[in-house]
């Protein structure tokens, strides 16, 4: 299954929030939707979920307009919250029923998820008696209990301790393995890098970058070298302003063009005591800062 947002425009009053946003996500893969605060991620998600109508553009599944009666979507919003005073099983089965399940099926599915997340003991308790992390796990059930085709997780790892984060990682991997489209929105780049095959960076309502994460990294200009050496001062003196230091103490050499790569490598090996040389590949954080930071 292939989900496609095509040339989506959306304005609230005079404010144009989305300008021709397009991206695609495929089943069995995780997709990262990135952007700074207010870039238009949540609006894109809400249009995808049919909460808002787009002013222009369309949401397609396998090239045809999405049929919300057939395609189930599960959503974990960034703004967490359920009914604090209501019993957990009551509200979770209610949300699953709203998604079309019968009451009996809803209770069975919710119970299975509570067990999977180690939350069965809280089944008949009120939500506000749980810790924040446990409430977040309960909220995850609302996104998954009805066995959706598309799972949208907005900042899923925020507020989780390492053990629960690990549990959530396993759940996400299971969903991907089951052939679901998993759409991530997060500012924690490490998680996006860990899960997502492809990404889209939205900046000021426009898609600034979209594609396969591996390809994006490979296609990044290969005009920088990372050099590990015991005598960095010699290289720094020779290369001048083209040489900077990375966070982990290695040197970063900026070349005039990627074509110089072999020559510079040869020169470094011959002239200096070098432990390691490799072509610099940007982290997702670097890519994000570059593309999403352009408006700053």
């Amino acid at each position: 299954m292939r989900l496609e947002l095509k040339n989506i425009d959306k304005a609230f009053g005079d404010k144009q929030v989305l300008k021709g946003v397009s991206f695609t996500a495929e089943s069995g893969k995780a997709f990262g939707l990135l952007g700074r605060n207010g870039a238009g991620k949540t609006t894109s998600i809400r249009i995808l979920m049919d909460v808002f109508k787009a002013n222009a553009g369309e949401v397609l599944i396998d090239g045809k307009p999405i049929d919300y009666k057939k395609i189930q979507i599960g959503y974990l919003p960034e703004e967490r919250g359920l009914y604090p005073k209501k019993i957990i099983i009551d509200q979770l089965s209610y949300f699953a029923q709203l998604k079309g399940m019968t009451k009996k099926d809803a209770v069975v599915a919710v119970d299975a998820w509570l067990e999977r997340l180690g939350m069965t003991e809280y089944r008949n308790k009120r939500l506000d008696t749980l810790s924040k992390g446990n409430q977040q796990k309960i909220q995850l059930v609302t996104a998954l209990a009805h066995n959706p085709d598309i799972v949208i997780l907005d900042e899923p790892f925020s507020g989780l301790d390492p053990v629960n984060a690990m549990l959530l990682k396993d759940v996400v991997k299971e969903q991907i393995a089951k052939g679901k489209i998993v759409l991530f929105s997060s500012h924690q780049m490490s998680y996006i890098e860990e899960f997502c095959d492809s990404i889209a960076i939205i900046n000021a309502g426009k898609v600034a970058l979209h594609g396969d994460l591996y390809d994006i990294k490979r296609n990044y200009p290969r005009d920088r070298l990372v050099v590990s050496t015991t005598k960095p001062e010699l290289i720094r003196r020779d290369f001048g302003s083209a040489c900077t230091e990375t966070e982990n103490g290695a040197l970063l050499l900026q070349m005039a063009s990627p074509d110089e790569k072999s020559a510079v490598m040869k020169r470094l090996v011959e002239q200096y005591d070098v432990d390691e040389i490799k072509v610099f590949e940007p982290s997702l954080n670097d890519i994000f800062v570059q593309y999403a930071g352009e408006q700053v």
């Binding site: 609230f12 809400r46 979507i73 919003p77 919250g81 359920l82 949300f95 029923q97 709203l98 079309g100």
Partner: protein, 410 residues
């Protein structure tokens, strides 16, 4: 439709599990039971051979004949009092009043002049008014005797009885007033209370961010209609519990209440009026609850609710005041009431009152119900639109113009 049913059941169960809702209903039923059993309860403490202590009225007159004459007339005029001739001086009489052995005293200078002594003068003290009527009669009889009539002839003239019959062709307002008043008050209380509950319910979902999941799970129309219909049924259930228990307990104690005209007039409500009450209750409740729900969706914090709903509450209070003033004036068919009978926000109370207390042509009722029904459906869909725009607006409560603009563009 399936979603509407799910939301309706969830919300309705929420009311049934709400301790305040259950507690209030039980309290009201118990309060009504206690009121209805009062004649039986007081009967238990009454003893046949020990008459209850009655309040005492003293009559002080220096002329013993005058005192005796006044007592003779006061005895039947003050059936709830024991009328006694005072002994001793005027100071002794005053002392008896202040120490509580007598309630009040009439110090008679003559049949047409007296001084009334009382410890604390109650706002509702009607003794002087009664006394004046009686004393006027004494003076008139005395005058007639002076002019040659015998005391018996004079008494017969004074006690002339007028026979009269009243045939009510339309409604008897005196009889209908009390139950109309009770039903209007019930309508007022339930709509105001439940309207606030709907607004608070929506605002709570928004402030707790449960809305984030809800808007992605259900259609705003289903959400709005499900919530409002559930609260309507809960309100109706509470009304049925209260009125039903009142009717039940009244029938259990009917013999004890005897012919109490006030109680009888309350329970002699024609069945057709219950039908009209149900109709106007449901439609009136829905139209206001939709508005309350829509306003609730625009508030980001629960604290904002009271200010946000104020315009609707004012509108409703104005409708209530118009009806109450017209009812007390005795003219429920005045022009204002007639106009209000066709305005959807006022007709549930105005037209209902007119139906109870006067004769309204059938076509006016049909027109009023049709306008109200159409408006309710219209307001319902408009509220669902406002709801869908309002629930995702956080921060300061938007102005009504901005909301309507957003609804128009949505």
């Amino acid at each position: 439709m399936k979603q509407l049913g799910t939301i309706f059941r969830f919300e309705f169960r929420g009311y049934l599990k709400n301790k305040v809702f259950v507690g209030t209903t039980v309290f009201l039923v118990i309060a009504i039971a206690v009121c209805m059993f009062i004649p039986n309860i007081t009967g238990l403490f009454k003893s046949e051979d020990q008459p209850a202590d009655r309040s005492v009225i003293l009559i002080y007159a220096e002329d013993p004949q005058l005192g005796a004459l006044v007592k003779q007339y006061f005895d039947p005029a003050f059936p709830d009092f024991e009328v006694k001739l005072a002994e001793g001086s005027l100071e002794d009489v005053q002392a008896q009043i202040t120490n509580g052995s007598a309630d009040c005293a009439f110090a008679m200078d003559s049949a047409s002049s007296y001084t009334y002594y009382v410890d604390n003068l109650s706002m509702y003290d009607a003794n002087t008014a009664v006394a004046e009527t009686v004393l006027k009669e004494v003076c008139r009889v005395a005058a007639m005797v002076e002019h040659g009539l015998s005391p018996e002839e004079a008494a017969e003239i004074m006690s002339a009885q007028i026979e009269s019959r009243t045939v009510t062709l339309g409604k008897d307002q005196g009889q209908n007033f009390l139950y109309t008043y009770i039903m209007i008050m019930a309508l007022y209380m339930v709509i105001l209370l439940y309207g606030q509950m709907v607004a608070t319910n929506v605002a709570t979902e928004k402030s707790s961010r449960a809305m984030e999941v809800l808007v992605t799970s259900a259609k705003p129309t289903a959400m709005m209609f499900g919530k409002v219909l559930a609260s309507c049924l809960a309100g109706l259930l509470q009304l049925v519990a209260v009125f039903g228990s009142a009717l039940l307990f009244y029938n259990l104690n009917k013999s004890a209440w005897g012919d109490n005209p006030m109680i009888a007039s309350i329970f002699n409500i024609p069945v057709s009026l219950f039908g009209y009450m149900l109709l106007y209750f449901v439609l009136g409740f829905l139209i206001y609850a939709f508005l309350y729900g829509a306003i609730g969706s625009t508030a980001s914090k629960l604290e904002d609710i009271n200010t946000s709903v104020m315009p609707i509450t004012f509108l409703f209070i104005i409708a209530f005041m118009v009806v109450m003033i017209s009812m007390s004036s005795g003219n429920t068919d005045n022009t204002l009431m007639k106009v209000c009978s066709f305005i959807p926000f006022t007709s549930p109370m105005a037209m209902f009152t007119r139906i109870c207390m006067s004769t309204v042509p059938w076509y006016e009722i049909v027109l009023s119900v049709a306008i109200l029904l159409g408006s309710t459906v219209g307001v319902g869909f408009l509220s669902a639109k406002i709801y869908s725009v309002g629930v995702l607006l956080y921060g300061t409560t938007p102005k009504i113009g901005a909301i309507l603009k957003a609804v128009w563009k949505a």
